[in-house]
């Protein structure tokens, strides 16, 4: 097991975005860290310019690497991109695009995650103890398929466009979701612990469960007869099929309560 502790150094402009897709488990299989490049604005830097690095133990596979990030990482983007195995723990907040294209392993964020968390994710697991901002578990501009597999669990709230173009996998939000969760979704499952607004817009397939109130349900969703039980705890939910703006849609929204868009 190899543990890599990365602590963000104080720098003169804390607002400047940092791109650090190299901060992923595979990278640290190599013991030579002097060649790890990251970008601060338009300046190419080495990892140690921006982070103090403290390594202990050895690992032969990415699975045995554990990265622990601390300090203010709210502007550090693309951490864990293409990660296949192993573990990343973020002690505080994390910047945009954390876990892009991730296919395995675990990322745990103890603070909040900025937008595009787990974009185009294929597998593995992301747990965010705080809130996730916009486009959590979404796709890329112009791309038809978004997240295709894996699990994202947000213990706080999620922002707008949660799981946009979702194709597979599962997103769980314990709190509220913002505007338009599950827009264009074509598969997969979104479970929202509290309220959400305009869920499942234009969905073709997949399931969106709202344990609180689904506000502004689109008029093109059809309320099915009778109430449904999702599991032992989620009982008496309304079931909607849709989005009937599409041809033969197979999408389902389950909501504890709802308001129709009027």
């Amino acid at each position: 097991m190899k543990t890599v502790r990365l602590k963000r150094k104080d720098i003169k402009n804390p607002y400047l975005p940092v791109e650090a897709e190299k901060i992923t488990t595979e990278t640290f299989l190599n013991n030579d860290i002097s060649e790890i490049r990251i970008w601060s604005g338009n300046q190419e830097k080495i990892l140690e310019d921006l982070f103090t690095v403290d390594t202990e133990g050895e690992a032969d596979t990415a699975e045995d690497v554990h990265i622990i990030l601390s300090g203010d990482c709210s502007k550090v983007k693309r951490v864990g991109e293409y990660m296949t195995a192993g573990r990343i723990t973020v002690e505080g907040d994390i910047g945009m695009h954390c876990g892009n294209f991730m296919s395995g392993g675990l990322i745990e964020i103890k603070g909040n995650a900025d937008s595009w968390l787990g974009r185009e994710m294929r597998g593995g697991e992301i747990i965010c103890r705080g809130n996730a901002a916009l486009y959590c578990g979404s796709g890329y501009r112009g791309e038809k398929k978004g997240m295709r597999g894996g699990l994202i669990h947000i213990e706080g709230d999620a922002g707008d466009f949660l799981g946009e173009t979702l194709w597979g996998g599962k997103i769980i939000v314990d709190g509220n979701a913002g505007n338009m969760p599950g827009a264009e979704m074509q598969g997969g499952e979104i479970i929202i612990g509290k309220d959400a607004e305009i869920p499942g817009a234009n969905m073709k397939d997949g399931v969106c469960i709202i344990c609180g109130t689904a506000f502004d349900i689109l008029p093109t969703f059809m309320l099915e007869d009778g109430k449904k039980n999702i599991d032992d705890f989620k009982t008496g939910f309304f079931e909607f099929s849709g989005d009937h703006a599409n041809r033969k849609p197979k999408g389902r929204i389950y909501a504890k309560d709802y308001r129709i868009h009027q």
Binding site: S115, Y135, G159, D160, F161, G178, N179
Partner: protein, 127 residues
């Protein structure tokens, strides 16, 4: 009462885009158009000064009657006045809420700032 603020183009605002420090431009972009019934509710007359308050700031404008607006909606021409109270949240789309910021309105005795004064308040330089 919460009003839904819409900002947009007008011919007069368009005519003024190359003379933004002029009195005409100030007049056009600091006019808050509202439904007459809403004005009655708030006890406002045409030309009264009002303070418009949002989560993002507050600004003094002039109330102007506009029957095309439904109750609860206000319209302000694009410009530095409405910017003070417009939400910069783009929802990840690049586009702020120019046509969907909620605001409150109060009558006020305060004067309108000039365009230069507005920017001086944000750290701008005088000419």
């Amino acid at each position: 009462m919460i009003f839904h603020m819409i900002t947009g183009r007008t011919v007069k605002q368009g005519e003024g885009v190359e003379k933004k420090l002029s009195a005409d431009y100030k007049k056009e972009t600091s006019a808050c158009r509202m439904n007459p019934l809403d004005m009655m509710d708030l006890g406002l007359n045409e030309g009264n000064h009002i303070k418009i308050i949002s989560d993002y700031g507050e600004v003094v404008m002039t109330a102007v009657e506009d029957k095309t607006l439904t109750a609860g909606m206000i319209f302000i021409a694009y410009g530095p006045y409405c910017n003070v109270i417009t939400s910069h949240d783009t929802h990840g789309t690049g586009m702020p809420d120019y046509k969907s910021t909620p605001v409150r309105i109060e009558e006020t005795d305060e004067d309108l700032k000039t365009v230069e004064e507005l920017f001086r308040g944000m750290g701008g330089t005088s000419l």
